[in-house]
């Protein structure tokens, strides 16, 4: 049936289909251009010499790697900062996903009291402006000696990662057909096994998407990372970038800021390239069992 449908489509709709393909490509080009043009400007600016920084030519001339050299100057500690960012965002993502998966499963599959209240509470916690929780949090962490530790950045990062992860995963789990799970349980799987073997693979696109979003959000967190640390050895990349200084207090080191911006974006692009198959492969993988 499926095959017939396909052939019919192809034979009867050749010309409009071709036309439509072109339209799709044009759309793709437009969207990609929109996303990349400002980023291209960032890249171009990062490759200009400090003295040409105000140019508006589309290509840097001459191309200069001075800004990148400045970023990786040992005094900036940028390599270390990237590593710290990786540690903080990585652990945040794994922990948030783990906790959120449990919670979301309970929300999607279990009946219990106060469910709506709890979901509302969870989302409510993500609504308070960060600016207002920094000082109380700083007092708390100072008291328990968490200043200059990874957990002082990881735990607050969980606070904005968790609500989104819980909500997002709940929606995904709820869209999974419960018949499959029921069948597996009848076949002798425990609830946990049924969840792990049926639901998780099926919901993989949701899980990986959530992971990417959580990671990026944690990667870009600035205010808390700045407030909770004062040693260069523990600072994250956005904090390190904020400390880039020009020769005096007045000149803005725009070139090296842009170079650093390019550099912090690249690991995320690599991550997306690695995981993008997972974002779209979920259903087929799960259903083919």
């Amino acid at each position: 049936m499926t095959t017939t449908a396909n052939t019919t489509t192809k034979t009867t709709m050749t010309t409009p289909a071709k036309w439509r393909t072109w339209l799709v490509y044009a759309g793709v080009a437009l969207v990609v251009a929109y996303c990349l043009a400002p980023f291209y400007w960032m890249l171009v600016s990062s490759l200009r010499r400090t003295s040409d920084i105000f140019d508006t030519t589309l290509l840097p001339s001459p191309v200069s790697f001075d800004n990148y050299r400045a970023v990786f100057d040992p005094s900036q500690g940028f390599g270390r900062a990237l590593l710290n960012s990786l540690i903080v965002s990585g652990i945040t993502t794994v922990l948030a996903l783990l906790l959120a998966t449990f919670t979301a499963y309970a929300m999607a599959r279990l009946e219990f009291r106060f469910k709506r209240l709890i979901l509302t509470l969870i989302i409510a916690t993500s609504m308070f402006p960060v600016v207002s929780i920094v000082v109380p949090l700083l007092k708390l962490f100072t008291d328990i000696g968490w200043i200059n530790t990874y957990q002082a950045m990881i735990v607050p990062s969980m606070s904005f990662a968790l609500p989104l992860a819980v909500w997002n995963l709940t929606t995904f789990f709820r869209q999974m057909p419960d018949e499959l799970e029921q069948a597996a349980m009848i076949d002798g799987c425990t609830r946990g096994q049924a969840f792990r073997k049926i639901i998780v693979p099926l919901a993989a696109p949701g899980i990986f998407t959530t992971a990417i979003i959580t990671f990026i959000a944690a990667w870009n967190e600035f205010l808390i990372a700045l407030s909770m640390t004062n040693r260069p050895s523990i600072q994250t990349a956005p904090v390190a970038i904020s400390k880039f200084a020009g020769a005096t207090q007045f000149d803005v080191p725009f070139g090296s800021q842009m170079a650093a911006g390019v550099l912090v974006t690249i690991p995320l692009v690599i991550m997306v390239l690695l995981f993008q198959r997972r974002i779209v492969a979920g259903l087929t993988a799960g259903a083919a069992k």
């Binding site: 279990l110 969870i122 709820r174 696109p205």
Partner: protein
């Protein structure tokens, strides 16, 4: 509205193979509840076990500071002793005076910021939704080099806000590339509607991929068979989009839009970095709170934060009520269960065939 239309349309395009299943379905919600009931003995405890770690983390990191902030909002700024020239150590308790001041003395500024915040949220989230869904549809398409396209679409979202604020300020400089491209000198960072436009362009650029990514994930759970059946029935692509794709990605889209709204309502960095502090055209509620805090008036700052919190909370609640309970989950009422049942049925035919 879309919700109400779903069942007949979905039924119209449903392949005949799914019909028996559907016919047997009226009992399904009941069976589903029954199935859950079987587990209910342990499910309360199990739910507690599964939910408590999340609640614990959130309590420590958010609830505690939030309650502190609530308390703080009842205290005024520390006073200056004209004799010694020193600011007193303690903040005076002023009750609700901070709130009264916000609506009274600072009323004009507050309402201006309130409308700016609302305007930015409505416009940016609206645009982001349209562009984000378009992005998702593109990323969903199978073509050569799509891995690169996916990665490049996500780049704006990956650039740290602080950096993108600087980047856009550079682009919108009086001698910047934006003016070079449009061929005239617009002073983007001065007061006026153009400053709003600059913020909107930068914000939409940065966050549309967020919606795109979440919708893309939502698209994955729609079986291909649903589309093929629809095509066989002669449904046009536009019709397919409105009547199949959109209803089916609705839960994912709603979560994405909801979280974008929550974020946009608290917008701070971008207008602050791009246009600057105290510009009436772009001043948001978060910027007011920040302004008070930076002048060491933590009480009034907390009061602004609480008002913003309440506003965001109301929007979130209204959102959930208005656009579908399926975001929140089981309300426990029969009506909602039924609605949920209807929605959930839609993807079922596709899967039924796959698993069969």
């Amino acid at each position: 509205m879309v919700d109400a239309k779903t069942p007949p349309d979905a039924a119209a395009v449903r392949p005949s193979g799914a019909a028996p299943r559907r016919a047997g379905r009226p009992a399904a919600p009941v069976r589903f509840r029954g199935g859950q009931k079987r587990a209910t003995a342990g499910s309360g405890r199990m739910a507690a076990l599964l939910v408590s770690p999340t609640l614990l983390v959130l309590t420590v990191v958010v609830l505690y500071p939030t309650i502190m902030a609530l308390r703080e909002s009842l205290y005024g700024a520390k006073g200056l002793d004209p004799e010694t020239g020193f600011i007193s150590d303690t903040e005076p308790f002023v009750g609700l005076q901070n709130y009264v001041d916000i609506f009274g003395e600072a009323g004009d500024r507050f309402w201006n910021a309130f409308w700016n915040t609302t305007f930015f949220t409505v416009v940016t989230v609206g645009l982001e939704t349209v562009i984000g869904v378009a992005m998702a549809l593109i990323m969903h398409k199978a073509f050569q080099g799509r891995a690169l396209v996916r990665a490049s679409i996500l780049i704006p979202w990956a650039v740290p806000t602080a950096i993108s604020g600087l980047l856009w300020r550079w682009i919108f400089n009086s001698d910047g590339i934006a003016n070079a491209l449009i061929g005239q000198q617009v002073l983007w960072t001065t007061e006026g509607f153009h400053a709003k436009i600059a913020v909107i362009i930068a914000e939409v650029w940065k966050t549309a991929p967020f919606i795109g990514l979440l919708v893309l994930a939502g698209l994955q759970v729609i079986g291909k068979e649903v589309y093929e059946a629809a095509r066989m029935d002669g449904a046009s692509p536009v019709r397919q989009f409105w009547h199949i794709t959109l209803p089916l990605v609705k839960p994912a889209l709603l979560v994405a839009v909801l979280f974008r709204c929550l974020d946009a309502l608290r917008m701070f960095d971008l207008p602050y970095l791009l246009v600057g502090a105290q510009k009436n055209s772009v001043e948001t509620l978060s910027m007011l709170a920040q302004n008070e805090a930076s002048n060491v008036r933590f009480g009034p700052a907390a009061a602004y934060a609480v008002i913003l919190f309440l506003y965001v909370f109301l929007i979130a609640l209204g959102f959930v009520r208005l656009l579908g309970a399926d975001v929140v989950g089981d309300g426990g009422t029969a009506r909602k269960a039924k609605r949920k049942g209807r929605l959930r049925r839609a993807p079922a035919p596709g899967r039924a065939e796959v698993s069969a």
